[in-house]
Amino acid sequence: MISALKDKVGQILVPGDEFCCGAEDTISLTAHVQPEKVVCGPGLMRSADRLQVCKSGVLRHKEPNMFWMDSQQKRYVPTKGDAVIGIVTSKSGDIFKVDVGGSEQASLSYLAFEGATKRNRPNVQVGDLVFAHFIVANKDMEPELACIDGSGRANGMGIFGEGGLLFTVSLGLVRRLLAPHSEIRSDLQQLVPCELLVGINGRVWLKSSSTQRTLIIANLLQCCDTMTAPQRRTGGRSALIDCPSQRWRM
C-alpha cells in the first residue's frame, strides 16, 4: 500500500479513491519484514484495511510514512490539539460558550485558564476573543477548549485582543502562514512591525502601530490567497507607501 501511495504523491485525488492494503505488496520469503505503519492525515479515512480519500486535493507525503490530502476549504472542522481563535458568546455557570467557526459552539471551562481556581475566576466577558486549543473534538461530542497546556501554563493562550483587528481567511492560507518556511511570513516580517495571531480555524488577529497600517496588512493578507509572490511584494510596499498617514507625515 505504501508504494501505491508514494506513486500518487503530488497527484490530484478525489473522494472515493481507494488504496488497498497488503494485496499487491510482495512478501520476501527470506527476511522477516516488519509491516510498516502508515499515518493517514486529514482527508484520508481508514475503513477496515483500506484507505479511502474523503477530500479532494493533492496527496502529500512526509517521511517516514505520513500521507495527507492538501485541500482548500473554508469551513473549519474542530480537531483535537488545534489552536484556534474563538469568540465568547455566552456565559452560563461554570462554562463559557465559544464560537470557533465550526458546526457547533465549543465549551470552555472557567477553570481552564492559567491561575484560575474555584475562588479566583478569570475575567471573561461576552464578546472577548480567546486563543485556545481543543482538548476534546470528535464528531459525536461537543468540542471542548482549554487555555492551558498539560502542565497548567498558558503559553500565550487565553484572552487577548486589545486594539487589534480580527478577520477571516481561508484555511489553506492559514496553513501557508504557519508553514515552517513560510514566504508570506518572511515578507510580512520585513514589511512593518506588527503582531499576528493565527488560529487554525481561519481567523487571524492583527495589531500594528496604527489603524491604517493594520487595515492595509489585513487586506493584503486576505488577498494573499490569489496573489503571486511578486504581486504580494510590490503590492505590500506600494500600499504602505500610499498609506494616508505616511503621506501626511511627508
Binding site: 509491516p35 489552536a83 500565550g156 515552517p180 503582531e195 495571531l197
Partner: protein, 159 residues
C-alpha cells in the same frame, strides 16, 4: 400403590431429597438443570473476531503533518513578550541549531578564552587555597627575597 406416586421435579431437586435418590434420576435431573442454564445463556451469532495489528493510524490534524508553527507571532520587536514566546514554542530544527552553535563558537575564539583564563589563574588558585596557605602566600608576595622555608624559631626580642 406407593410406586405410582411420583414426586415433582422441583421437590426432587431439593437438598434433603438428594440423599434418597438413585443415580439414574440424579443424572437426569442434573442434565435437565444444565439444559435450562445453557438455554438461558445468550450469545452473539458472529464469526470470531480476529485481533489483527492495525497498520493504519489516523491523524486528523494538519499540525503534525505540515509541522505548522505556533500561532502567535510578532515582527520587528512589536511585542517582545510574544517574540520570547515564539522562540520558546517553535523549536528549531537541527540544521538551524547547528548554525546557531557555529555562531556561538565564533563569538569567543579559543585563543581569547585562553588569554582570559591566563590572567585568572592567580585568583582561581587563591579560591581553592586554605586560609593559612593564603596568608603565607601573601607574606611571600611581600618579602619575596626572604627564604620561605626557614623553620620558625623563637626569636629573643632585643632590649
Amino acid at each position: 400403590m406407593a410406586n405410582d406416586v411420583k414426586l415433582s421435579k422441583n421437590l426432587l431437586r431439593m437438598k434433603f431429597m438428594q440423599r434418597g435418590l438413585d443415580a439414574e434420576t440424579k443424572q437426569q435431573l442434573e442434565e435437565d438443570h444444565k439444559r435450562i442454564i445453557s438455554d438461558e445463556h445468550w450469545y452473539l451469532d458472529l464469526p470470531e473476531l480476529k485481533a489483527r495489528e492495525n497498520l493504519i493510524i489516523e491523524e486528523k490534524s494538519f499540525v503534525p503533518c505540515e509541522d505548522l508553527i505556533y500561532g502567535r507571532m510578532s515582527f520587528q520587536g512589536f511585542n517582545p513578550e510574544v517574540e520570547k514566546l515564539m522562540a520558546l514554542m517553535n523549536p528549531k530544527n537541527k540544521e538551524e541549531e547547528e548554525e546557531d552553535l557555529r555562531q556561538m563558537q565564533t563569538d569567543v575564539t579559543d585563543e581569547e578564552m585562553a588569554l582570559r583564563y591566563e590572567s585568572l589563574i592567580g585568583s582561581i588558585k587563591k579560591k581553592f587555597a586554605k586560609k593559612r596557605q593564603r596568608t603565607s602566600e601573601a607574606e611571600e608576595d611581600l618579602n619575596q627575597n626572604v627564604e620561605s622555608n626557614l623553620k620558625r624559631v623563637f626569636l629573643k626580642p632585643q632590649d
